[in-house]
């Protein structure tokens, strides 16, 4: 069980440098700006944890509509951001930038508003990897995800991602 109190931004950045492997998002994530809601994704082979972050600078298009007088990051964007972090990890594991989507969202909770200037740190753990056989043409994976801003949890959810593989996987 990870001790969340250790994950101040300083410690998190430090763990990025010393223990985590970086994922090339251009190589493993189909979403590009303005629909990419993650800045960096790293993972640990050892304990299976995926860490990522996203700084909401304030010029993102959705702030204009949500809401004009009080910009707040929409909860669904926080979910998408967590999903993109997990998708990058899953695609790296699959060895390709596979097409896919969120198959299910369980127990998503939004605990505190995220506003322009906030940097959100996400952690996720794969909890079920389904249909991993090399002859399978698709991949499901279920993740437990938590997003924090400073010391506060802002969102959490269990997400199941579905990645479509149409040709044999090239293992990396």
């Amino acid at each position: 069980m990870l001790d969340w109190s250790l994950y101040s931004s300083v410690v998190l950045e430090s763990s990025f440098v010393t223990e985590m492997m970086c994922i090339d998002l251009d190589l493993y994530l189909r979403q590009t700006s303005p629909f990419r809601f993650v800045d960096e994704v790293r993972f640990s082979e050892e304990d299976g944890v995926i860490e990522s972050s996203r700084l909401y600078v304030g010029d993102e298009g959705f702030f204009a509509g949500h809401f004009p007088d009080e910009p707040i990051v929409p909860g669904v964007i926080l979910v998408e951001s967590m999903a993109q972090s997990c998708r990058a990890w899953l695609n790296k594991r699959l060895g390709r930038k596979a097409k896919g989507f969120i198959a299910s969202i369980e127990r998503a909770k939004f605990l505190k508003p995220v506003v322009p200037g906030d940097r959100v740190f996400m952690k996720a753990w794969p909890i079920d990897l389904i249909s991993v056989g090399s002859d399978s043409s698709s991949r499901f994976c279920r993740f437990s995800c938590v997003s924090r801003c400073g010391d506060l949890e802002v969102a959490k959810a269990n997400l199941t991602l579905y990645q479509i593989i149409t040709t044999p996987i090239e293992r990396r």
Binding site: F35, A64, G65, G75, V76, V79, S104, I105, F110
Partner: protein, 138 residues
């Protein structure tokens, strides 16, 4: 009650979310416990969605905004609805295409916290089901 095109535009104009983050294009039915709405292809580029297909986040926001319409009477006096919880399950493995028709029902009410159950159809096909919790912040 069934909603005319003019009344539909009025309801949509009353949403606190505005373009480019507005995800309801037509209100077909609305009362204090049920809404039937439509998301069509209009202005989709401004919603960050590739033409002809819909991402899960757009469906979830469509559900949240449609459910929020049911609460319009309870928000009078400056209240604003914020999402507190979500669940959802995609029922179609292939791409989901517009237009989508959504039905949301109020299933639970506790103080300022409201729980809705929703289902989304593309044509006759059920493509997504879920629930959304909305808190009215005054």
């Amino acid at each position: 009650m069934q909603v005319s095109e003019t009344a539909s535009e009025c309801y949509i104009e009353g949403l606190t979310q505005i373009v480019p983050f507005r995800f309801v294009d037509r209100v077909h039915f609305l009362n204090d416990s049920r809404a039937v709405t439509e998301l069509s292809a209009r202005a989709m580029p401004y919603r960050f969605v590739a033409p002809g297909q819909v991402d899960t986040y757009a469906i979830l926001e469509f559900a949240a905004q449609s459910s929020g319409l049911i609460l319009r009477g309870r928000k009078k006096g400056g209240g604003r609805g914020v999402i507190t919880s979500l669940t959802g399950e995609r029922k179609k493995c292939g791409e989901i295409e517009l237009p989508l028709r959504l039905e949301s029902r109020l299933v639970e009410e506790r103080y300022s916290l409201f729980e809705f159950s929703f289902q989304v159809h593309a044509g006759l096909e059920l493509v997504f089901v879920g629930s959304v919790g909305i808190f009215i912040r005054h």
